[in-house]
């Protein structure tokens, strides 16, 4: 009865609906709520399992102990230094990989002779797990930043290289004909058609490479380092300080997300003509 009485009122005066009336309208909960609930549920489950002793604290930290570990890390005063070290290694490695990848990719895509010479090796190298090179790179480039930059560069090079080649080769022949009909040379075709055409590919390569560079820097630090977030993880792990390991992993997750967001921002800025993606 009440429903029937309320209905005409809400129809006649929809603008004056109260907050309560708005909640009365049943809307499906937004998707992100499910996502948040899933995470909260997982954390809650961990908390129960660990605090009840089903799972050992050496295997899984008590989720409630991670904020404290994070606070300790921040208060220790060395966090900024470690973060900057790892970020610097990843950024340098990424920059080297980007320059090398773009140049090599352009040479391979533009000059048949370079392609015939290098491509078999590139394919072979690409299928090899490059992380396996980390110990050798430590020997070659020393205990300092150099070896970490090298690992980051080596593993982030390939996504850039492969995507650059694919992008340059995917150029629509019709667009090239427009330039050729004007007597354009190789360089004009490259700078006016091929390169801009390849940019969407290059950017998806760069997005992957950013993540790879961060991974490379961490792996480099695992193999041997005196500072950096990878070093912190190894240290904490050796002391069985599992909450701190997780605290560092959380920081890494935040850095990775920020780097990815930065790439997406650049993507939108540079690729203004392409439909939005991801």
């Amino acid at each position: 009865m009440t429903i029937q009485a309320d209905l005409p009122a809400s129809i006649s005066a929809p603008r004056t609906r109260t907050l309560a009336a708005r909640f009365a309208v049943r809307r499906p909960p937004p998707d992100w709520m499910a996502t948040v609930l899933l995470v909260l549920g997982a954390i809650g489950l961990c908390q129960v399992l660990v605090s009840s002793g089903v799972v050992s604290r050496y295997v899984m930290p008590l989720p409630s102990s991670i904020p404290a570990a994070l606070a300790d890390l921040v208060n220790s005063g060395t966090l900024a230094d470690n973060v900057l070290t790892t970020l610097g290694e990843a950024a340098c490695g990424f920059a080297i990989a980007a320059c090398l990848g773009l140049m090599l990719g352009a040479l391979v895509a533009e000059f048949g002779i370079v392609e015939r010479l290098l491509y078999p090796y590139l394919v072979a190298l690409q299928t090899m797990p490059k992380i396996a090179l980390a110990p050798v790179l430590l020997v070659w480039f020393g205990f300092g930043l150099g070896s970490k930059i090298a690992v980051a560069a080596v593993i982030s090079l390939f996504p850039i290289l492969v995507n650059t080649i694919a992008g340059l080769k995917s150029t629509d022949p019709g667009r090239l004909d427009v330039l050729r009909a004007l007597g354009a040379g190789r360089w004009d075709c490259f700078r006016l058609v091929r390169l801009p055409n390849a940019l969407p590919f290059v950017f998806s390569g760069l997005s992957t490479a950013v993540m790879f560079a961060l991974t490379g820097a961490i792996v480099g630090e695992f193999v041997g380092a005196t500072k950096g977030l990878g070093y912190l993880i190894v240290q904490a792990n050796s002391q069985m300080d599992i909450p701190q390991v997780f605290a560092v992993v959380l920081i890494l997750a935040a850095l990775g997300t920020a780097a990815f967001a930065a790439m997406q921002f650049c993507r939108r800025k540079f690729l203004y003509w392409t439909p939005k993606e991801e």
Binding site: R175, V178, L182, G183, P196
Partner: protein, 291 residues
């Protein structure tokens, strides 16, 4: 051309040439002259396929000439040879009296697809030939703006190609082809991808643009109605190996509106060309211009 030569004998050919050493005063050369053009391709299996056999035709300066023919008869090959994009043919092709060795800025090409660069604005797309030919940027800009207004795209200068309709993109492509002020406009089925209504509108526009720009136009199409509507002469091409089976002069009065479709001589010419193509065993579309 022979008539022209007779009417306008070049000065000094009789008296001066042998004495002064000026062996030859070149008569006004046709915009396009194709003689004995033949072209064959090697297929993947190694067989040679003859695409063109013994083509001969001329296009006079300022003339609008179309080639109609069935799909796959080698029309596009003819255009690509004229544009200097294909070699390895026999016979001779000359543009404005000089033999074609490669692309020349005397020609502007409009392709089947607009082929605009999606990362460039409409204005920047139209200015592209200027960058390739290293022309003065400011002049190019001015010219591009006036060409955009010629093709009816004023106000769309800063749009990206992705924001335009198919017809508008093809208009931009026409403006781009005209930027460096070529003497000849080569068009390869420029409206083939457009719907019938847009295509009719574009044909009326093309007739106007060609007249206003004063260009020699060489159009490739498989629409008989389109070729009759636009051209001074229609070259009818045979099935592969392609050659010209008939040249038909169109003497409909200009400027032509879509009403010419109702003209008995329009219908008769369309029918005549269709018969020629049918007799040859080809199949060309006879899409009539809609009203």
């Amino acid at each position: 051309m022979k008539g022209k030569l007779l009417r306008f004998p070049p000065d000094g050919v009789a008296s001066g040439s042998a004495v002064s050493g000026l062996t030859h005063v070149s008569p006004v050369a046709p915009a396009i002259a194709v003689r004995g053009l033949a072209k064959s391709y090697a297929t993947k299996t190694g067989d040679a396929v003859q695409a063109l056999a013994q083509m001969n035709f001329e296009v006079a300066t300022g003339e609008f000439v179309s080639i109609v023919g069935p799909s796959g008869c080698g029309k596009t090959t003819v255009m690509r040879i004229l544009a200097g994009l294909v070699d390895g043919y026999s016979g001779s092709v000359s543009i404005g009296g000089s033999i074609v060795h490669g692309p020349t800025p005397e020609i502007g090409v409009v392709f089947q697809d607009a082929n605009l660069m999606p990362w460039r604005t409409v204005l920047a797309n139209v200015m592209l030939p200027g960058e390739v030919l290293r022309l003065d940027k400011r002049l190019c800009r001015e010219r591009a703006l006036s060409l955009l207004s010629l093709v009816g795209l004023s106000g769309f200068e800063d749009k990206l190609p992705g924001e335009l309709s198919g017809g508008m993109r093809q208009r931009a492509a026409i403006a781009r082809a005209l930027l460096h002020d070529p003497k000849i406009l080569l068009m390869d089925e420029p409206f083939g991808a457009l719907d019938a209504m847009t295509r009719d509108t574009m044909n009326v526009e093309l007739a106007r643009i060609a007249a206003e720009a004063g260009k020699t136009v060489f159009l490739i199409t498989h629409s008989i109605a389109e070729s009759v509507f636009l051209s001074d002469r229609v070259l009818v091409m045979s099935n592969r190996p392609g050659r010209i089976i008939e040249t038909i002069a169109i003497d409909l009065r200009r400027p032509r509106s879509l009403d010419v479709v109702a003209d008995p001589s329009f219908a008769a010419t369309v029918l005549r060309i269709r018969r020629l193509l049918e007799r040859d065993g080809g199949s060309a579309s006879t899409v009539t211009l809609a009203h």
